[in-house]
Amino acid sequence: MGNNKIILYAAILAITVIAPFVFPAFGTQLATLWLMIIVALTWDMTGGQMGYNSLGNIFFYGTGMYVAAAVTIGMVYDVGEYTSAHGGGITSFTDQQYFTGMFVGILAAGVFCSVCAVVIGYLTFGLRGPYFAIGTLGVAIAAGELVSNWDWIGGGQGIALPVYPGDLDEGKVFFYFLFALTGVAVFLFCRWLYQTRFGAAINAIRDDEEKADAMGIHTLRYKLVTWSMAAFFVGIAGGISAFQLIHFEPLETAYQTINLGIFMVVCVLLGGKGTLWGPVIGASLFHVFKEVTWNYFLGWQWVALGALIVVTVVYFKDGVMGYLLHTKPEWFGVKIDQKASEETS
C-alpha cells in the first residue's frame, strides 16, 4: 500500500469517526448512508464481481429485520401475543434484555440470512441474466406478501421493537457506529476477498461461466458462498435497521423491493460495477442526491430518482469509477503500453 493510500484510508476513517459529532443533527442520515454503502457493497459482491444481478437482495434486509425482532422479543415475550392487535398490556424491556436481545438478534439475523441465501441460491443459481434478476425479485416480493399475511409476526400491522433505553443522542450515535462498523467490516472483507483466488474465480464466473465450469471451478459452490456472505452482512444491516426504526412493517419497510431493493443496484451502477470503491462512491452520491431532491423537489423526488436511474444506466454505464478508469488510468496504477494499444487495432 502506497503512502497516499494510507493517508486516504486514515482520512476516511477519521471522518467516519468524527462525523456524528460534527453533524449531530444529521446522525440518522449518516447512519442511512452507511446502510446504503453496506447494501451496495454486498450487492456488488454478486452483481458486479460475480455477474449475478440480483433484484432480491432486499429479501435479506427484510428477513434480517424480522429475525432480529423476533429473536429479541422472543427472548422475553411470546411473539404471537406481543404482536397481536388485541394484545393488551404495555410491554417493557430492561436494559439488559434490550442489549442482549439486540446482540443475539442481529447476529441471528446475519446467520439466518446466509442460510437463506444458500437455500434460495440453490434454486435460483441455475437461472441466468434476466431470469435470475426476475426470479430473485420474485422471491423478495413473495416473501413480503407472505410475511404480511403471517399474523404471528404481526402481519400487515408490522412489529414494534422497544425504544433505545439510554439517552437519545447517545442512541443515535450508537446506531451510527453500529452501521459504520458493519460498513467498514464489509469494505475490508470485500477488499480482502477480491484479492484471493476465490475473488478471481467469481470474476471468472462473471466473465464466462461456461468456461469457468469447463475449467473445473466449483461454480455453484462459489456462487452460494459469495451470496451467503453478502446475505450475512445484509441481514445484519437489516437487524440494525430494525432497532433503529423501532416500528416496521413488511411491505413498505422490510421487503421494500422498489425502494432500497433497487436503490442498492443504482448506487453500484452509479459508482461503477465490479470495483471496490464504486459502490461506496455511488452510495454516497445517490444518498446525497436523494436527500437533496426530496428537500427541494417535494413531490417530484421520485420522478427525479427515476430519471437518475435511467440516466445512470443509459448514459453513464460504467459509473464514476469506470469513467475515472478511462480518463485517469494512472490513478489506478494501470500502465498504458502505447505500442500495445496501437497494435491491437
Binding site: 440518522t28 392487535a85 404480511s148 399475511n149 414494534a160 416496521f248 421494500q256
Partner: protein, 407 residues
C-alpha cells in the same frame, strides 16, 4: 381540478421556501409534519394537509394563538413521507433534529403514525395526530401522542349493533346474523376488523367470511363470489379509498344482495359521485359529518366549517368535505387550545396541557384518555340514501331512518 392539487403542492413547496420572509406581526410556533403527498395515501394526505392549512389560516384570522399575552401563528414544515413508514420515521427524525421542531402534527394513516410515534416519543415531542385511528397506537404507553379522532375499532362496530337490532326486529336471534369481513391488510383496517369481530362475538355472531384485501387491490370478485354463496347478513369492507371504490363498483356489477353493507372511506372515495345509485343504502362510518350539531368559536358550526373550507379550497366544491380534513383542522385547534392554556412554549407544559384537554369543537368533543385517544366523541354511521349521506346511527345523532334491507 387535479391540476390544481398539483399546483397547490408546488405552491406549498414554494411558499415553504419563502415563508420565513413573508410573515411578520405575530411570532411563529414551528410545527413539523411528515405527510403523504405522493404514494398511495397521497389523496388523503393532501386532504389532511389542507385541513391543517385551513385551520392555521382560520386561527391566524382570529388573531392567532395568545400565549402569555403574546401573539403567535403556527407555521408547519411539511415533508413528503411517500406513504411509507420508514420514510416517515426518518423524516420525523429530521424534523426534530435538523429543523428543530418542538411539536408535530400527525401523518396520514395508522401505519405511518405507528412508524412516527416511536420517534416523537423518543424525543418527547408532543404530537397531535388526526389520521391514525388504530387502537394499537394507544396500548404502547406513548405519553406524547394525542389523537383527536375515535379509535378505529369503533368505526364499524355500530354496524354490528344495527344488524343485531334489525335481526331482533325480524324476530330472529342476534346470534343468527352472519357477518362477512373483508379488510385491507394494514394496521388501520386490521383494527376495524378486530373491533367488528369483538362486537360480533359479543352478540354470538359468526363470521362466515374473514379475508384480507391486498394493498394494491384492484379486484375483489373472489370474495364477492363467496358472499353470493354464503349469503351473509352483514358485509364489512375496509380498505381506504381504493377499497371503497373497488367494493362499490363490484358490488354493483355482481349484483350482490346483502341486507346490510358497511364500509369506511365512502366520502374520500366519492362513491356517490363515481357510482351513483349503486352506492345507495351502503352504510359509511365517519368521524364527523357537517350535519352534526357541534360548534366552536373559531370555525363555527360543523356546517359553517364545511362552507368555509369549500370557499378556501374551491377544488372541493362539488364533493363532500371529507372528515379527514375536518379532524386535521381540529388537531391544529387542539394545539392552539393547549398552548393558550399552558401559557408557555415549553413543550413539557404544553404536553401536560394537551393531556388535560377537554373542549368542544366543530368536530365534536375532545378529551384525551390516559393513552392519548379521544374519548369524548362517538363515531357516526351514515347511510347513502338517494345519493345523500344521512346519519342513521347512533340514534342520538340520527337524522334519518335506516333503510333495511338494502336492495
Amino acid at each position: 381540478m387535479k391540476k390544481l392539487s398539483l399546483l397547490s403542492i408546488l405552491m406549498a413547496s414554494v411558499s415553504l421556501l419563502f415563508s420565513q420572509a413573508s410573515l411578520a406581526a405575530c411570532d411563529e410556533i414551528h410545527i413539523g409534519s411528515a405527510i403523504s403527498l405522493t404514494g398511495k395515501y397521497a389523496t388523503n394526505g393532501i386532504h389532511a394537509k389542507n385541513g391543517y392549512e385551513y385551520a392555521i389560516q382560520k386561527i391566524k384570522d382570529a388573531g392567532g394563538v395568545m400565549v402569555d399575552g403574546k401573539c403567535y401563528n403556527f407555521r408547519v414544515t411539511y415533508y413528503d413521507d411517500e406513504s411509507k413508514g420508514d420514510r416517515g420515521a426518518t423524516l420525523a427524525e429530521r424534523l426534530i433534529s435538523q429543523d428543530k421542531v418542538q411539536y408535530m402534527l400527525g401523518p396520514y394513516s395508522s401505519g405511518l403514525t405507528k412508524a412516527i410515534a416511536p420517534v416523537t416519543e423518543k424525543y418527547q415531542i408532543p404530537m397531535v395526530e388526526a389520521e391514525g385511528a388504530s387502537r394499537s397506537l394507544f396500548n404502547k404507553g406513548y405519553k406524547y401522542l394525542f389523537a383527536v379522532l375515535s379509535t378505529s375499532e369503533q368505526y364499524l362496530a355500530s354496524a354490528v349493533t344495527l344488524a343485531a337490532e334489525m335481526a331482533e326486529k325480524q324476530g330472529k336471534k342476534a346470534s343468527s346474523v352472519k357477518v362477512a369481513v373483508a379488510v385491507e391488510n394494514d394496521p388501520f383496517s386490521l383494527d376495524i376488523r378486530a373491533g367488528v369481530l369483538d362486537d360480533a362475538k359479543k352478540y354470538g355472531m359468526k363470521p362466515v367470511i374473514d379475508e384480507q384485501l391486498p394493498r394494491d387491490l384492484s379486484d375483489m370478485s373472489a370474495i364477492l363470489t363467496k358472499v353470493k354463496l354464503l349469503k351473509p347478513d352483514l358485509l364489512i369492507v375496509s380498505g381506504h379509498s381504493k377499497g371503497a371504490a373497488t367494493a362499490v363498483r363490484q358490488i354493483g356489477e355482481q349484483n350482490i344482495k346483502v341486507p346490510m353493507i358497511a364500509m369506511t372511506h365512502c366520502e374520500a372515495a366519492d362513491v356517490t359521485g363515481k357510482f351513483g345509485a349503486t352506492a345507495n343504502d351502503i352504510l359509511c362510518s365517519t368521524q364527523w359529518a357537517e350535519t352534526l350539531s357541534y360548534s366552536d368559536p373559531i370555525f363555527g358550526t360543523a356546517g359553517e366549517y364545511e362552507a368555509g373550507f369549500k370557499k378556501a379550497y374551491p377544488e372541493y366544491k362539488d364533493k363532500k368535505v371529507p372528515y379527514q380534513t375536518a379532524q386535521a383542522s381540529a388537531a391544529v385547534y387542539v394545539f392552539k387550545d393547549a398552548f393558550e392554556r399552558a401559557g408557555s412554549l415549553d413543550k413539557e407544559k404544553v404536553r401536560d396541557a394537551l393531556a388535560a384537554t377537554d373542549m368542544q369543537t366543530f368536530y365534536g368533543g375532545i378529551k384525551f384518555s390516559e393513552a392519548g385517544n379521544n374519548i369524548a366523541k362517538p363515531m357516526v354511521l351514515r347511510q347513502i340514501q338517494n345519493g345523500e349521506y344521512n346519519v342513521v346511527a347512533p340514534s342520538a345523532f340520527a337524522s334519518h331512518e335506516l333503510n333495511w334491507p338494502r336492495n
